[in-house]
Symmetry: C2
Subunit: 248 residues, 2 copies
Amino acid sequence: MALILVTNDDGVLSEGLMALFEAMKDVAEAVIVAPDRERSATSHSLTMHRPLRVTKIKEAIYAINGTPTDCVTLGIGKILGRKPDLVASGINKGGNLGDDITYSGTVSAAFEGTILGVPSFAISMLWDDGGFHFSTAAEFAKKIARAIVDKGLPRDTLLNVNVPNAESVAGVKFTKQGKRVYCNSIQETNDPWGKKHYWIGGGSPSWEEDAHTDFLAVEAGYISVTPLHLDLTNYDALKKIEKEWKEL
Amino acid sequence: MALILVTNDDGVLSEGLMALFEAMKDVAEAVIVAPDRERSATSHSLTMHRPLRVTKIKEAIYAINGTPTDCVTLGIGKILGRKPDLVASGINKGGNLGDDITYSGTVSAAFEGTILGVPSFAISMLWDDGGFHFSTAAEFAKKIARAIVDKGLPRDTLLNVNVPNAESVAGVKFTKQGKRVYCNSIQETNDPWGKKHYWIGGGSPSWEEDAHTDFLAVEAGYISVTPLHLDLTNYDALKKIEKEWKEL
C-alpha cells in the first residue's frame, strides 16, 4: 500500500493538517510528521544548530520541535521506516502564490520531499477572515494525490496547489508562478520602554497582469496547480552573461 | 554615488561580512544591515510573528534581531532612506551550491533584494577547517559589483557566486545549479535525561556528474557564477501535465 507523509507549517494542531490527513487516509496509508507549533514563513529553514525532539502524539501522528523541512527530513530519514510514495503539505491557511512561495514553509516541505526523491505537493487555501472551506481543498487533495501516485511527477518537480476559499470551484487550471509587485509592508511600533521597533507584515499584495498565473486562476475561482522546479538557474540569463561578461 | 546594502547570514560580527563591506566601500557607498547573530540555514524566513529591533552599531553598520530576509526588507524599506543600487550578501563561510541554495540565508537575502527590485548577488567561500582566504572572494566581489552596477542584471535574476578557498583561482565560470545526491545526515543523541534526539547536519554531499555545474567549477578551482531566477515554474512540466492531467 502506498505511504503518504503529511506535514504543514501551521503546526500539528492545525485544522487544515487534520483535513489533509483524513483525505490522504482515503488514498493510502498516511502518517503525520509536523511541527509542534506554528512555523509560518520559515521558508526552507533547516535546524542544524540544536538537536530535535520527536513526540508521538498518537498512532501515525508525530510532532517535532522544528521546521517543516526538519519534519520531512526526519520523517523520511528516521520516523516512517520506509521511503514514502508521496509528501503532502498543507492545507495552509492562506494562499502561497507568486514570489511569496519562497517564504512559505508549506511549499518548502514539498521542496524538501522532492530533493529527497519523493513526489510532493503543497496545498493552500486562500485567506478569508470568515473561516476556511477545508473540504473543498481536501477533496481536490485526494484527486491530486491519486494522480501523483499513479503517474508520478516530472523529475525534480513539485506541485504547488492553491484553492479558492469557497464551497465549490470553477475548475482546475495549470498555471505559472505569478509576479508580486508590492513591497512588504512595515509597521512601526514601540516597546514598553518607548523604543522603536518594526513589524513586517500585512499590506495588500498586488500582482502583475500576466496571463496564466496562479494568482489569476484563483481570482477567477479556479484551483491553481503550478509545477515548480528545484533548478532555479535562469538559462536565458546564463547565455546572455556568458557572452557579455567575458572580462570578469 | 551608488549605494550598496551589505548583509549576510553569519551575523554582524562575521569576518566574511567585514571583508565584503571593505570591498564594497571601494566600489560605492556601503551600509551593513545584518542579523545580530548567526542565522545560517534560515533560508528565506521572514519574521512576521514579532516586531524587530534595529541597533546602530556604528556609522553605516546596523544589526537586526532577525533573519537575512528581514534585514533586506527593513534595510531597503526603512534604514537606508533611499533605494540601494545593489544588495551584496556574504561572504558566507561555506559554499552554497546545487540544491543547498534553497536552505541558504545568504542566497535568500539576494532573493529578497531581487524581489524588491534591487540587483543582488550572494557570495560564498568554500569550507575549509584551516580558515578562509576572504581576500580572494573580496577582490572578485568588487569586480562583480562594478559589473552589476554598470550593466544591470536580467529581470528577476540574481547571481549566486561561489569562490574556491584558495589564494588564487583558475578563472571564472558561468554555471548552472548542480544537483545534490545525498540525504541530510541525521545523528542520534540523548538529552541529559536519556531521551533520544536527532541532530541534522554533517554528511558528505555528493553531486551528479553533469557538465557546467557550480559544483564542478569550484572543484576545478574556478569561481562559479550562477544566475538564478525568481520564477520557479517548470515550463516543460507545465506543458506536459496540462496535456496529460486533463481529468483532474
